[in-house]
Symmetry: C2
DNA sequence: CAATTTTCATTTGTCAGACATTTAAAAGTC
DNA sequence: GACTTTTAAATGTCTGACAAATGAAAATTG
């Protein structure tokens, strides 16, 4: 674990990289304690603030956790699924919002990925996930619901569908695709007619999952994708017309 | 953008969160300049090192970039696809290596996601991506290849397949699934016979993509998944026998 | 002797002030 | 007017210090 002292700028980035590489390579194992900040400062021949900045970089990625007090210090953190979900969602949200990704592109990616889950979800459907899907469909039929709440319920429905596949790695990957799109979905205003349509498609998907018919579930998702894109287009056109 | 000074620990984390939330909410837009470290220190009523630690946390997530000199400072960074790829791969790799995920689980997720790309890739296949796939297949047939090089070529083949879908959001999502599995794949020793088998399946997939037959490409991936899991099982059993 | 309390060393979290380095705008020069 | 020099502002780093937390060891007490 060495750094290049020839470049006296970016020292904290170099130190962070050295430690991160050691973690990724498996040289530092979970729950192992790093040397204290003072010791690291000696090893890398830098000051303690520089070491601290490096450690904060690693903490931001949930690679380490710190504990104060005697026998405290920085410990290699086991990257948990919730932590990974969170990072995934933040990154996906920012990627979509900062790169003016077309709605169609994001939508295509999301539904392609969800279709990947459908057969597994149909095969392994649990009563729990099915109940969640039905409950969210019920919620979506309530008249007083705001557009935001409708979108949030939509996300919950799709999360249940994805989690139903019973594969945590898949759930982790999909978290970004589904939740990262929420801000884009929130831009759509849902009429009573369109909500009815979406609830119908959701019901078809839930029915297919319940019947363990993966192919039908995929079809339902495809129809939902097509309708979502259609809906977004009309909203955009409407907005363009008003703007002009 | 406020912090809770009642808890005098975690100040840098609180500041980082405040700024991050402002970015995600869109209050701070791309390429906008943050106040200088000294000004931030005044605003939040903390010292400059504390502000710096907060900024380093954000830099670790590629949310800001810093520039020295007059009229330099911290700028809101546009999260680029390469940056997002990198974070995605690091996170996925660590998630798999630190949570003793079963090979089958990771494999299932990866191939399910790749199957999601197959129809799009078949539909939009470009000469470029097809050429890359063929080139990697050719490389995989070279006799002197190490197992690591074979795995790397395998990843390159699948990346070309995924990128062929022409959807950057999809490519971003798949980066973690495909590259994050490489360490697990590297644990497999490939015999001449198994390489031959894999090259055959890769060729079938490439042929399907070239023929724009999405269904056949999906089938090829399913067979490849089945064979990969079969291969991993035999390697594990072999290893267990030797260990005992 | 056992249980409890106190002390204490260690480590992180924060602060203040300072200097070095970089950088682009502003001032000066030909 | 084009080029060079100066200068101010900002980040990057260092030193030294103190506060707060924390677990272990020592002291105290029943």
């Amino acid at each position: 674990m060495k750094i290049d002292p020839s470049n006296p700028a970016d020292l904290s980035a170099q130190i962070a990289k050295a430690i991160r590489d050691a973690i990724v390579a498996g040289d530092l194992i979970v729950d192992e304690r790093l040397p204290s900040e003072a010791e690291l400062a000696d090893q890398f021949e830098v000051s303690r603030p520089t070491v601290r900045e490096a450690l904060k970089r690693l903490a931001a990625q949930s690679l380490i956790r710190t504990q104060r007090g005697a026998f405290g210090g920085a410990f290699i953190n086991r990257l948990s699924y919730p932590d990974a979900y969170g990072q995934q969602i933040t990154t996906a949200t920012l990627l979509l919002s900062m790169n003016d990704v077309r709605f169609d592109t994001a939508c295509e990616a999301r539904y392609a990925l969800e279709r990947a889950c459908a057969p597994l979800s149909a095969q392994r459907r649990s009563a729990d996930h099915l109940a969640t899907m039905r409950a969210e469909i019920f919620r979506q039929q309530q008249p007083g619901l705001t557009d935001e709440a409708f979108c949030a319920s939509d996300v919950a429905f799709h999360r249940a569908l994805v989690d139903g596949a019973g594969n945590p790695v898949l759930s982790y990957q999909l978290a970004g695709a589904v939740e990262g799109m929420q801000p884009l979905m929130n831009m759509i205003t849902f009429t009573a007619r369109s909500r009815e349509e979406i609830v119908g498609l959701h019901t078809a998907i839930a029915d297919a999952i319940e019947a363990q018919d993966g192919e039908a579930a995929r079809d339902g998702l495809t129809r939902l994708e097509r309708y979502t894109i259609h809906l977004a287009r009309s909203v955009m056109e409407e907005r363009a017309k008003r703007g002009a």
